[in-house]
């Protein structure tokens, strides 16, 4: 029931009384937002009388049973840790979904380390988990995704540049592969504010509403999708399900002032993709002798 804030001197992250991110303040400007872990119910087997049309969500296809995701929890239990170099908020949504929101001293991004799994499927429903950031940025149906970490492409919701799209899958039909980053800005020609997610592995992502971006972080499905793999996406075998941990960098900049968003996102993406490699050795020597 208490509001919490963490800061690193450059930015301030505010959490509401439910323990969810409420806003981020950068250079005195506030960007209202929410962020949560959510799940799509997967389409199960037997959704059509025809074997050719019976397509459960599976390894090849993302096919949610419905048009929106459900929050894993509306409230998070918090542990707040603050110190000289990092301040972090641990948010526990359930026994199988939690995350840590970190701000390191001197950094201009927010690190979100998510841990998801084992996804419960005792109710007979496959689940596909996403991290969703919602802002009030009027993005006009436009969002941007990388293509294999290289060129950043404009995507438009419910639109294809070379043919007239008949949207029969309103969620999956707007999902794109995200290898490195996804972002929205507030205006096509005069972008002032940018909100971006930089990911550490290839994931699916989209912007289903203006100002919103989401990335799929984990899936556990109970049926083969009949496209060839011949088994459901349910590792390991009949076991308890996988626990997956990964990192997103959340970048918020409310005053671009002519700066192209990519000039901020690309260094972050390189930092994520090519992190320094650590090696260790024990020693009995004093520092002087060791050196």
């Amino acid at each position: 029931g208490e509001k919490i804030a963490i800061s690193n001197g450059k930015l301030l992250v505010n959490f509401d009384a439910n323990g969810l991110i409420e806003s981020i303040v950068v250079d005195g400007e506030t960007v209202m937002m929410s962020q949560n872990l959510m799940w799509y119910a997967a389409m199960n087997e037997g959704n059509s009388n025809s074997i050719f049309d019976d397509r459960p969500s599976g390894a090849y296809v993302f096919r949610p049973n419905g048009t929106d995701a459900t929050p894993i929890a509306m409230q998070a239990t918090l542990i707040v840790q603050t110190g000289a170099l990092v301040s972090e908020v641990h948010q526990k949504f359930s026994d199988w979904a939690s995350q840590v929101v970190r701000v390191y001293k001197g950094q201009s991004d927010v690190e979100i380390e998510w841990t998801v799994g084992p996804i419960p499927v005792g109710d007979g429903i496959g689940k596909e988990i996403v991290s969703r950031v919602t802002t009030q940025i009027p993005s006009g149906g436009r969002f941007y995704t990388d293509s294999n970490g290289r060129q950043t492409l404009l995507r438009r919701r419910n639109f294809r540049p070379t043919w007239t799209l008949n949207v029969s899958e309103p969620v999956a039909g707007n999902y794109y592969p995200i290898n490195s980053h996804i972002y929205v800005t507030d205006d096509e020609g005069n972008a002032d504010t940018v909100v971006a997610l930089v990911n550490d592995r290839s994931q699916g992502g989209t912007s289903l509403q203006d100002g919103q971006i989401e990335l799929m972080v984990h899936r556990r499905l109970l049926y083969d999708d009949h496209f060839g793999v011949g088994e459901p996406l349910n590792e390991p075998g009949d076991g308890p399900g996988l626990v997956v941990r990964g990192t997103h960098y959340l970048l918020v900049n409310p005053s671009l002032a002519g700066i192209h968003p990519i000039s901020l996102i690309r260094p972050l993406a390189q930092q994520m993709f090519m992190r320094p490699w650590l090696s260790f050795s024990s020693t009995s020597l004093s520092f002087t002798n060791w050196k």
């Binding site: 323990g19 390894a59 090849y60 239990t77 918090l78 542990i79 707040v80 840790q81 603050t82 110190g83 000289a84 170099l85 990092v86 972090e88 641990h90 526990k92 026994d95 199988w96 939690s98 840590v100 390191y104 001293k105 001197g106 841990t115 799994g117 084992p118 496209f227 060839g228 793999v229 011949g230 088994e231 996406l233 590792e235 390991p236 075998g237 626990v243 941990r245 390189q270 930092q271 090519m274 992190r275 320094p276 490699w277 650590l278 090696s279 260790f280 050795s281 024990s282 020693t283 009995s284 020597l285 520092f287 002087t288 060791w290 050196k291």
Partner: protein
């Protein structure tokens, strides 16, 4: 060269086949993992060999470098059990990089020295218990993560940091430093 080629080959195989789409069967996925892991271990050997060759002629051989592949779940045998150890950060980018290093450790009093012997600002962050992750690291004794900033690692180069653990600090000066490196924790009441 063959140590590096091993990873090239494993990555190439995976990218040529269905690992790229994630549409492989589970036992195939396990095979990809095994091949990638074996190749990564080969590359670690190559890095270790390279460090030894960078020492001046006549130097004592460098101790074998160990790599911790479970840092993402806060587990590393050397950092958890050694009272003196070194950490080498290799920067694979063609730009100078400053990064934060997090190492799983047991509670105590730590001093981190940079390559010039200057003492660094550190923070000891308590590990938060998480049932699903703790099950993945049954052998770990880590209770905290030791955090420091590895500044200005040269492009395609490395920096080594020297870390000493003592059970407690002594004197007023140590008490101040212990306070500086501690983390304030607030937990929600259940």
């Amino acid at each position: 060269q063959h140590l590096i080629d091993s990873l090239r080959r494993s990555m190439g195989e995976a990218q040529h086949h269905d690992a790229v789409a994630g549409t492989e069967k589970e036992h195939v996925s396990q095979d990809y993992r095994l091949r990638l892991h074996d190749s990564v271990v080969d590359c670690q050997q190559d890095v270790s060999n390279s460090f030894s060759k960078m020492l001046p002629i006549g130097s004592q051989p460098l101790p074998q470098q160990e790599f911790c592949l479970h840092l993402n779940v806060s587990q590393c045998a050397i950092t958890e059990s050694s009272s003196r150890f070194t950490v080498t950060a290799y920067n694979p980018r063609s730009h100078e990089v400053t990064t934060y290093v997090r190492l799983p450790v047991t509670n105590g009093f730590y001093t981190v020295l940079d390559p010039d012997g200057s003492e660094m600002i550190i923070q000891l962050v308590p590990l938060v218990a998480l049932q699903s992750i703790d099950a993945e690291r049954p052998k770990s004794t880590a209770t905290h993560e030791l955090l420091f900033q590895a500044a200005k690692i040269p492009p395609l180069g490395h920096k080594t940091f020297y870390i000493i653990k003592t059970s407690t600090g002594r004197g007023q000066h140590s008490a101040i430093r212990e306070k500086q490196q501690s983390t304030t924790v607030r937990r929600a009441k259940t």
